[in-house]
Every structure is written in structure tokens, then in C-alpha cells.
């Protein structure tokens, strides 16, 4: 069941991407449209480590190092982009981050050392379900633990009211940057896992459309809800694949179906499936008893 295994694996990678973007967009309230850029940075640096500098150690250790390389380089890109851009708000921040992620892509197209427009080949196949989902769990624990601490509350307060947060003695800029950099870092980590699952990278795989798709995962589940992001990632990774099973015609029209579903969902539930709340199965039972 290679197909399902890989689909599950990709889903894991997108869970990391969605949860990390949620930290920026949902928890901190900074509207970023450039997640594909950080994903690309992590994928390419992680892959470059494995292709050019891999140490003579077991594969899983190399994968671990490559993930760390991906995390650090994407986080570094996050600092470079975040420090100037996070002064901007709302739509302007969105468009600036979009611009940066396109610039990242264009730079990769022109970098021959990682294949440029020809694509980066011969990346070892080190990712597997176990490691991907270990990282998924680690990512969720780290981000959830940060959110449920004083640092997380500081980040949330920025989303609620930036001026009031500043007046409560919170260095809003520092915390915005922190959320942005951590989010970018985990996107980079996901990138490295992705590179070692796909074994091939191409700049066209990291276009603006992907930033939108990751954002949709977050929004579908509900901005600010971690469980929402996880479910959003699952739905939006599985749905397009599921549409493949409805025959050639549907398959050709699936992007139309996909965009229609999206519009309808937004009209029906603009806050996403879970809004800002976490999924709590127990509460369903409580409600049904009433």
C-alpha cells in the first residue's frame, strides 16, 4: 500500500506545515502568505546537506541532522523576512510575505548548485512514516506547550489587541518575530522531511498556490485551533486524491470542485470548522445528552 502510506506521509508533512502556519496566522494573528517559501528553504537546504555533506552515520541520524538544518535555515530566513515585514499589518503583511516567498523561489530557480530549473535529484529516501509522525508529534507538543505558557499567552494577546498587549508590558515585536520564526522553522523542518520523501525537488513545487493551500488548511480547521489545523491538513491532502477515484471526468474537473467546495465552506462556516476552539470529543457527548 505504497500509495496510502505515502499519502499518509504527505499528510503528516502538511500537518506540520499547517500547524506551524497556524502559530503565525491563527495564534499570533499575523497574516502570512509566504509559507511555501520557508518550506522551500527547508527542503532545499535539508536536501543539500544530504546530497553534499551527509556524514557517515546511520540514515536516521542524517535525517535528523538534515531536519535540524532545514529548521535552522528556514528560521533564519524567517528572521530576515520577519524583522522588516512584521511592522506591517493585515493585507500588507500578506502581500509582502507573498513577495518574499516568490523571491525565494526565483533565487532557487537560478541556483545551479541545487539543480536550478532542472530540479534537484538524487535525494536519499530517508523519510518514513515513523520519523515523519514522530516529528508531527514533536511539532505539536512544542507548539502546544509554547501556546500554553506565558510566552504563548503573550503571542495570543497580540492577536487579540496589539496595542493593549504592548501596554501590558509585552514586547509585541519580539513575540511576533518569535512566532514567525518558530513557524518558519517548522515549515523548514517539514520541507526537509518532504525532500527525503519525494527524492526530487523542483522550484515549481513551491509556488504561491501552495502557500494558499497551506493557508486553506489552517482556515478550514479554524484559525487558532491546532486540532482544526490537523484536520484541515488531513482533509485538504486527502480530498484531491479522493477525487481521483471518481473517474477521469471528475479528475479533470477536480480543481473546479475543490474551489467550489472552498467557497461554499467559507459561506457556510467562515470561522472554519472549529473556529478558535480545540476539538473536544467529550463535549460532544455532553451536548448530545442535553
Amino acid at each position: 500500500m505504497d500509495y496510502i502510506a505515502h499519502l499518509t506521509l504527505n499528510t503528516g508533512i502538511f500537518i506540520i506545515l499547517a500547524v506551524s502556519l497556524n502559530l503565525i496566522n491563527g495564534i499570533c494573528g499575523q497574516f502570512s502568505l509566504g509559507h511555501a517559501g520557508f518550506w522551500a528553504v527547508g527542503a532545499y537546504t535539508g536536501a543539500a546537506y544530504s546530497v553534499y555533506m551527509a556524514l557517515p552515520v546511520p540514515d536516521f541520524i542524517n535525517l535528523f541532522i538534515s531536519c535540524i538544518v532545514g529548521f535552522i535555515s528556514a528560521a533564519f530566513a524567517g528572521v530576515i523576512i520577519g524583522v522588516p515585514c512584521l511592522r506591517l499589518r493585515g493585507d500588507y503583511l500578506a502581500i509582502a510575505t507573498l513577495g518574499f516567498s516568490e523571491i525565494i523561489r526565483i533565487v532557487i530557480v537560478n541556483l545551479d548548485v541545487v539543480g536550478g530549473a532542472r530540479g534537484f535529484t538524487n535525494i536519499p529516501n530517508w523519510s518514513n512514516l515513523f520519523w515523519v509522525y514522530s516529528w508531527v508529534v514533536i511539532t505539536i507538543i512544542i507548539i502546544a506547550n509554547i501556546i500554553n505558557s506565558t510566552h504563548g499567552r503573550a503571542i495570543i494577546s497580540i492577536r487579540e489587541d496589539e496595542i493593549a498587549a504592548e501596554s501590558m508590558g509585552i514586547h509585541t515585536f519580539k513575540y511576533k518575530t518569535l512566532a514567525f520564526v518558530i513557524g518558519a522553522g517548522f515549515a523548514g523542518l517539514a520541507g526537509s522531511l518532504f525532500a527525503h520523501a519525494q527524492q526530487f525537488l523542483h522550484p515549481n513545487g513551491f509556488t504561491f498556490l501552495w502557500s494558499v493551500i497551506i493557508l486553506l488548511m489552517v482556515i478550514l480547521g479554524g484559525l487558532g485551533s491546532i486540532t482544526g489545523s490537523i484536520i484541515g491538513a488531513i482533509i485538504l491532502t486527502v480530498l484531491p486524491e479522493l477525487l481521483r477515484f471518481f473517474g477521469e471526468t471528475i479528475s479533470q474537473w477536480r480543481m473546479v470542485v475543490y474551489s467550489l467546495l472552498l467557497i461554499i465552506l467559507m459561506l457556510a462556516r467562515p470561522g472554519g470548522i472549529f473556529g478558535k476552539h480545540e476539538l473536544d470529543i467529550k463535549s460532544w457527548f455532553r451536548r448530545s445528552k442535553l
Binding site: 506591517l88 513577495g99 516568490e102 526565483i106 482556515i219 480543481m255 473546479v256 474551489s259 472552498l262 467559507m266
Partner: protein, 299 residues
């Protein structure tokens, strides 16, 4: 050496002219962007698709053997009507839900039209017939074509019309009032829903006109054609100061000229990167754009 210098100036002027024509198209699309953003604070990602729809409507009218005098109005009215329908069915219900859901819906609408276009008319580019006799004028080393003149001319006229409409008519006054404070405008007896529909109609008509002009100028149209110019037009709108009509034109022209200078003197590989770099620079230095006014958040 002297010859090189002379050539340099010839080239400079040439790139400037090319940029002016390309920038005019960005400007036409940016006008619609800026109007819609100005009135409901929505980045209407589907705006690039209105431009695509206009191009195809014009294309089919011309293919059917009619002249440009029919193609232009059909394209403009057609994309205007599509925009009004989209506004009515999609954007109006979502408006109250806030800006981010509206933005997502706009993205969804944009994808919908792109892929619908690919499904219905096919992905391959269509050759727009050359219906006007495209003459080339040469002044020494500098060259321009009649299409370029038409594009710059049409853009300029439409901008003036819009400027007049918004600044000096009753509808324009209602638009400004709606943009400034929708509730208050409603209380003053303005039917803001109608005003918003009109704004969408006008914005999309301009994009439709741009679509036909692009068909004439580059002679190729395809369902994905709205994606990149749509983004660029947004950059142009922000550059000039979003919500500001002359600003959209200034932004479009600057972007077009800058891109052509980069292509001419450096490498076109970095053209899009430069466009976004300009955008980011402007946002950081003067977030309200070149012609925008500074607004401080009230505490």
C-alpha cells in the same frame, strides 16, 4: 565610447516606451483592484480572472467577425456582469464575516474561474486575431507601434473618466461615502449594496478592456493569463497607494517601466523578484504607497 553612450540613451528611451505600454495594462487592472479595495477593503484575487474573461469575450466577438467597436463594449459589459454576479452570490454574504474569510473566498473564486476556463475552453493559448493594422513607427533607433499608442491612450482616457466619475458625480460621491463609512452612508440614504455592485461592475469592465488590449498587443490569451498580471496589478495598486485612482495608474506605470529596465539592462530572470522587491521596499518605507495619505491608528 560615445556611440555606446548614445545607444545607452536610445535603449533607455526604448525600454521606457515598452514599459509604458506594459505598465498601462497593469494600471488598467490595478484601477479595478484599487476601487474594490477602497470600497470594501477586499483584496479581490479574482480580479485577474475578470480580465481573462474580458479577453475571451473580446476574442469570441472578433472571431465571429465583428469589429473592435463591438468587441470592447461586449468584453467590458460582460466581465462587469460576471463581477456583479460574483459579488452578489459570493462576496456579499461573506462580507460580514470579516476580512480573512472574504480573502479566502476571493482566492477560491479566482481558482474557480481559472480551472473552469481550462475545463471549458481548454488550456492551450488562443491566438487573438490581428484586427487592427499594426503600424510600426521609427524615430532613429526608437520604435513604437500603433497598438502601444492605443493602449496608453485608452488607459489614460479610462483613468480620466474614472477620476471624473469618482470625484465629480453623484455616484462617485456615494462611492466615497460608502468607502469612508458604510453604516453612515447607509443612514444618509445611500443604497450601499448598489454602490458596491456598481464599483465591481466598473472595476471589472476596466479589467475586461485591459483583457482585449492585451489580446491585441500580445496576440495570445489563455485561461491562466490572469494570475500573474493580477498579482502584478495588486503590487501596482499598493505601490501607488491602494484606494487611490491616480495612484493605481502611477503604480502600474512605474512597475511596467521598472520591469522593462531590469529586462533590458540586467536579466529578465530577476524581473519578478525586482517587482516584489520594489513592493516590499515601498511597504516598509511608505506603507500607504506613493500617493497615499498617512493614517495613524486611533488609540
Amino acid at each position: 565610447m560615445l556611440e555606446d553612450t548614445i545607444y545607452f540613451f536610445y535603449d533607455l528611451v526604448q525600454y521606457f516606451i515598452n514599459g509604458l505600454a506594459q505598465g498601462s495594462i497593469y494600471a488598467l487592472i490595478a484601477l479595478g483592484y484599487t476601487m474594490v479595495y477602497g470600497i470594501i477593503r477586499l483584496i479581490n484575487f479574482a480580479h485577474g480572472e475578470f480580465y481573462m474573461i474580458g479577453a475571451f469575450l473580446g476574442f469570441y466577438v472578433v472571431i465571429a467577425g465583428h469589429s473592435l467597436w463591438i468587441a470592447f463594449p461586449v468584453a467590458m459589459i460582460g466581465s462587469g456582469i460576471v463581477a456583479v454576479i460574483v459579488e452578489r452570490l459570493v462576496y456579499r454574504p461573506i462580507r460580514s464575516a470579516g476580512r480573512i474569510p472574504a480573502l479566502i473566498t476571493a482566492l477560491g473564486t479566482s481558482l474557480f474561474f481559472q480551472y473552469l476556463g481550462q475545463g471549458v475552453i481548454g488550456a492551450e493559448p488562443k491566438a487573438f486575431p490581428s484586427v487592427i493594422n499594426d503600424q510600426t513607427f521609427m524615430f532613429g533607433e526608437i520604435m513604437f507601434t500603433s497598438t502601444q499608442i492605443i493602449i496608453v491612450g485608452v488607459t489614460f482616457v479610462l483613468m480620466l473618466f474614472l477620476w471624473w466619475l469618482v470625484g465629480y458625480t453623484k455616484v462617485g460621491k456615494a462611492m466615497r461615502a460608502t468607502s469612508y463609512n458604510r453604516e453612515a452612508a447607509e443612514l444618509m440614504g445611500i443604497n450601499t449594496n448598489r454602490i458596491i455592485s456598481i464599483t465591481f461592475f466598473i472595476g471589472a469592465s476596466l479589467a475586461g478592456a485591459a483583457g482585449v488590449l492585451v489580446g491585441l498587443y500580445y496576440s495570445t490569451i489563455e485561461p491562466m493569463m490572469g494570475l500573474i498580471p493580477g498579482l502584478k496589478a495588486f503590487v501596482a495598486a499598493v505601490l501607488g497607494g491602494i484606494g487611490n485612482i491616480p495612484g493605481a495608474v502611477v503604480g502600474g506605470l512605474i512597475l511596467g517601466i521598472a520591469e522593462n529596465l531590469v529586462m533590458g539592462f540586467w536579466a529578465s530572470t530577476y524581473r519578478d523578484a525586482i517587482a516584489f522587491a520594489i513592493l516590499i521596499f515601498i511597504l516598509l518605507v511608505k506603507p500607504t504607497g506613493i500617493l497615499g495619505k498617512n493614517i495613524k491608528e486611533k488609540v
